[in-house]
Amino acid sequence: MATSLIKPSERMAARASAELKSQDVVFVGIGLPNLACNLARATHAPELFMIYESGAVGTVPDRLPVSIGDPTLVTDSLAILSQADIFQLFLQGGLIEVGFLGGAQVDRFGNLNTTVIGDYTAPKVRLPGSGGACEIATHSKRLLIMMSMTPRTFVPVVDFITSPGHRFVSQRTNAGVERDKLKIPGNGPTTVITDVGVCQFRSGEMVLTELYSGVTLDQVRKQCGWELKIDDNLLEVPPPSETIVRILREKLDPQCLYL
């Protein structure tokens, strides 16, 4: 299988799944994060412990859930809890180790916008809003971000901070403040998995640490809305193995819902 045939979404799912260890307790979002988690479970992390904000705990879905409330998440799960329990006991109680988020915009500090493009009161695009994102960003011990990198998505300043990152430069309420000063319980974004490479946070700012094979630094620089810092020891990430691509395509998302 030639690398060129592998879709960026497949590379993202494969790379994200590598972030997950067996026995991690992960709060699973819909879409690519869900694919990444189920890929991890099907490969190196069979005991990955998945919790969905819909209330399903310890799920073992036997089809790809189209929504985070899919019935396949319920059948054969370990426990169904009310959403009050999910948010109060699990998230606010500090039991979620890994959270997954995406968004329409992200800035260099990992602030995410899923609320509006443009002005809040007269938006150009009205996005869905936070859902559970704000509390996932607040309480997860580790936060993984999955987003394709384009100048429209990786922006110098997000139009609205839906979910807090490491430092707040919005024109709204929290300009200039750092995460630690606000005593936000979770550790904030740790890794950003994109379609061109992977960033980590150093002193709260994104640094490109991995580049996918076949992608050039120039391409990355063109895609990012600010001058992205590059790690001195930039790693090249090989394409996912044929086995992994096959699991993704044939087993996990044969209908290409998210790939």
Binding site: S67, T75, L81, A84, R126, E135, P164
Partner: protein, 312 residues
């Protein structure tokens, strides 16, 4: 917040048609909450509100989903209280977007996160005017919503966010089974159904199946909502399609996907409403329109669990 003025509802037979229940409980200007998180979203109730054209509504829900978007398209909603407004896994709510983007007369939005909405219902159901949560620091959400405030912990002096109680005029939930008094049992995802019921002034329970009270009493831990909270019981099999009911029928994911193109265009949106809502009398006609093939495809394969022993 209530001031201990609610009376328990003890009528023995609360069974009504959907038409009667909506007519009696939902009024122009009400704050309504049709509950259900992915699971158990009662489209049948939404469609009846559409048919009766009850307007000027404040519509509250974590996920407005297609059911509220249809109310918005029909012009029945003056304000939306929510935390995630999209078509899950698919795309946008297009009526909502048309009423909020580049419009001279945008709809009023009051926006939280899921946890914030859950907390509003926790307060509303618990008779408190506020609920504290450790959230929103660093986020612009409180800046966009003056109802999110702060409170200081009397022990640690740490500040926490608060949200105000949400007490809908009417909450509508859907369940797998209940008796004629409205004692409702639910399994699978529970969402915030219990909190939404306890927070509401009036409650409609829609059910796949009406059972004897003895069935409820044989497994009392399964009861999510005691009947003394319930005003009306509506028997409406397949009342949640395209949403789903665990143990009864699957989510119609194809419909949710198809909805993206149906709803993108006002014309096809109105055509849909005309065909599946306005020209049918009620849910049984709607079900008939779905066609036998779809019904058979979505019908659940049985997967019954064991009972437990309540003896002493």
């Amino acid at each position: 917040m209530f001031d201990h003025t609610r009376a328990p509802k003890l009528s023995r037979n609360k069974v009504r048609s959907m038409k009667e229940a909506i007519q009696d409980s939902v009024h122009s200007g009400d704050t309504i909450l049709i509950e259900g998180f992915t699971h158990l979203i009662c489209f049948a109730a939404g469609h009846e509100i559409l048919r009766q054209g009850i307007g000027n509504l404040t519509a509250a829900r974590l996920t407005p989903d297609l059911v509220y978007d249809q109310l918005i398209e029909a012009g029945l909603v003056k304000k939306l209280i929510f935390s995630w407004a999209g078509n899950p896994g698919v795309g946008s709510l297009h009526a909502l977007r048309r009423r909020t983007e580049k419009t001279a007369e945008p709809m009023e939005l009051e926006e939280y996160s899921h946890f914030g909405m859950v907390a509003r219902l926790l307060a509303g159901s618990s008779g408190l005017p506020f609920w504290p949560l450790d959230n929103y620091r660093g986020s612009d959400i409180p800046g966009a919503n003056q109802s999110i405030r702060t409170i200081e912990c009397p022990y640690t002096q740490k500040k926490f966010a608060t949200v105000p109680a949400l007490n809908p005029d009417v909450t509508i939930i859907h369940c797998q089974r209940c008796d004629k008094e409205g004692n409702a049992q639910v399994w699978g995802l529970l969402g915030t159904q219990k909190e939404a019921v306890f927070a509401a002034k009036r409650v409609i329970v829609v059910t796949e199946e009406i059972c004897e009270t003895s069935v409820i009493r044989r497994d009392p831990n399964r009861t999510l909502v005691p009947g003394i909270l319930v005003d009306h019981v509506v028997h409406e099999p397949w009342g949640c399609h395209p949403s789903y009911v665990q143990g009864h029928y699957d989510r119609d994911n194809d419909f949710y996907v198809a909805w993206e193109s149906i709803s993108k265009d006002t014309r096809s949106y109105q055509d849909y409403l005309s065909e599946f809502v306005y020209s049918v009398k009620g849910r049984s006609e709607y079900r008939a329109k779905l066609g036998k093939g779809l019904i058979e495809k979505l019908a659940a394969e049985p997967r019954k669990c064991e009972g437990v022993d309540y003896g002493y």
